[in-house]
């Protein structure tokens, strides 16, 4: 049976978060199984199921060079900028 990754939304306005996986032959049953496995106590207001094979993930081994472009740009943070003493924000 096909493997599905399950993402649950804990409350309205909250992001969907990975909860685990389920086996199911189709999306409809995957949703029902996901509800029974990951939301037995009102843990979710919404569920996504995604075929596991449809997920492309970055590789941990290449994490260094892959995320490098974002790691050396302090000017993208507010702390990089000097403002006059006493400025109220």
């Amino acid at each position: 049976m096909k493997l599905w990754e399950v993402f649950t939304q804990a409350g309205h306005g909250a992001p969907h978060e990975h909860a685990g996986s389920v086996h199911a032959p189709d999306a409809e049953l995957a949703l029902q199984n996901a509800r029974d496995v990951y939301a037995r106590r009102g843990e979710a207001v919404n569920i996504w199921v995604v075929p596991s094979e449809a997920i492309t993930a970055s590789s941990p081994e290449d994490a260094g060079p892959f995320f490098d472009p974002g790691n050396d740009k302090p000017y993208r943070h507010p702390q990089f900028y000097k403002v006059p003493r006493g400025t109220k924000e």
Partner: protein, 317 residues
Amino acid sequence: MTPMDDSVRTQAFEARIARGETIEPKDWMPERYRKQLVRMMSQHAHSEVVGMLPEGNWITRAPSLRRKISLLAKVQDEAGHGLYIYCGTETLGVERDELIGQLLAGTAKYSSIFNYPTLTWADMGAIGWLVDGAAIVNQTALAKASYGPYARAMIRICKEENFHKRQGYEIMATLAAGTPAQKAMAQDALNRWWWPSLMMFGPSDKDSPNSAELLTRKVKRERNDELRQRFINLTIPQAELIGLTMPDPALRHDAESGDWITGPIDWAEFQQVISGNGPMNRERLAARNKAHDEGAWVREAAEAYAAKHAAKGQEAA
């Protein structure tokens, strides 16, 4: 990959473990770490699944509707717990069918505690209180395991397990405060489940073949004996509170350490049960196989329905 590369990678891996980093599914890991995880996690998952059986056969005999819905919900949780952990093993590149096949064939191990019979309603109390109580102590430590998917499954399980323990303790407290016959039934259940629940933590670390390695790699975070002692110290005052006594004439309180010291545990019994000669090993496996076989038509129907719908979708397109 050359052996040289592997030893360099292993060193880097050990350093990550030493720094307390969490290992994730796609991270490189030594084959031995992967194997140990699959062994330990699959045994844990099997235990959750087999754990449904001793209680499952009391659902129709629960003494009230309140007790019945609680027990149903608990048994359903155990199924969920099995699935959380099987899902964790799948991130290590194992097929769930393969693991379930091993369980059904009788070649996989699971917790020895589930090979004891549930003779009276009080056993539902004793299991929730003692077996789930011991599991909470064990799993709370495992929630800090070095492998991310295992640790996350444990966090989810621990959140749910507290209800299991409390419903069990409530059953015991109610019986212990009941008629003399009810109290005797509760005491009898405690007598039968106390020692097996202490064995759930596994042999003393000096006699446990896998303990040292699992501790070094931070799959296990605390020693079997430490966890067992924590459980003993937690549970004895709870028994006292409801007027039940432990079946252990040697039990004493050590004022210096604050620990309760039990008499010797019968590890020969543990070895017998874990190697398939417990009172219920054969019956549990037979019941699990029967349930699996009787559920086959549901799985087949679901597959057929999905195939039919997929074909219809193609026609429409």
